[in-house]
Symmetry: C2
Subunit: 137 residues, 2 copies
């Protein structure tokens, strides 16, 4: 069995509450983390909730990163979904941990899109094709 993608579900506990309530800082941290991993950013959206909390997504050519924060609990949920072999999602996980000053991180890696392939055969991944950048939003 081979997988088209892998996804890391990260629970960041004991974060700096000011950082994870600041939509601009979160946007910078996630975009920097994404660039550090060499993923190709296609679009991003971040939203601040009242009175607290931020949600955001970064669509990358290799899939996506999503975040939801609960500053009142010092907690942020982050998903890092990548396909292909060129991106190391753990670079993104580590960068976010450092800048959120998270004292307690729990991560789970999942395989997505499992297919049975013949010996020596590979699955083809979307990132081999440049995105056309046709978009609806």
């Amino acid at each position: 069995m081979k997988a088209l993608g892998r996804q890391i579900l990260v629970e960041y506990y004991d974060c700096d509450e000011d950082v994870i309530n600041d939509v601009s800082q979160i946007e910078s941290i996630l975009l920097d983390a994404t660039r550090k991993s060499k993923a190709s950013i296609i679009s991003h959206n971040f939203h601040k909730f009242s009175p607290h909390g931020v949600s955001g997504t970064v669509v990358i050519a290799e899939s996506h990163i999503a975040i939801h924060t609960w500053p009142e609990y010092g907690y942020a949920a982050v998903d890092i979904f990548t396909c292909g072999e060129t991106i190391d999602p753990w670079i993104i996980q580590d960068h976010i941990r450092e800048y959120f000053h998270s004292g307690n991180v729990s991560s789970m890696e999942m395989k997505r899109g499992l297919f049975r392939v013949a010996e020596g055969e590979e699955l083809l991944f979307k990132p081999k094709d440049a995105p056309s950048f046709a978009s609806n939003s």
Copy 2:
């Protein structure tokens, strides 16, 4: 232990390849599914890749929905992340299955943001607060 959110990771196999390669249809199907669940849509972005495949995210007040499709494999990966008790993510899962004509669906539900709370105490969820709609993108 109580959870701030829950997330359904859905593997849709044996989908209609034309549907899951059509960015406009995917956008309509996901937005209709989201509205059917009564979730509040804040923003959405969908992108078509060349030569095939679509990626997209829908940020909702209650968290997010994300999709990546591989029409060449008849496969779509969908995440449905919700917080609070008002939204039933399975309504979204079922709607997408129907319109993708998926012959084989595998879903896994995860709890996100686990906290120990005293007996009778509840965690507060962001959706109780209206989103302020301040956004960076």
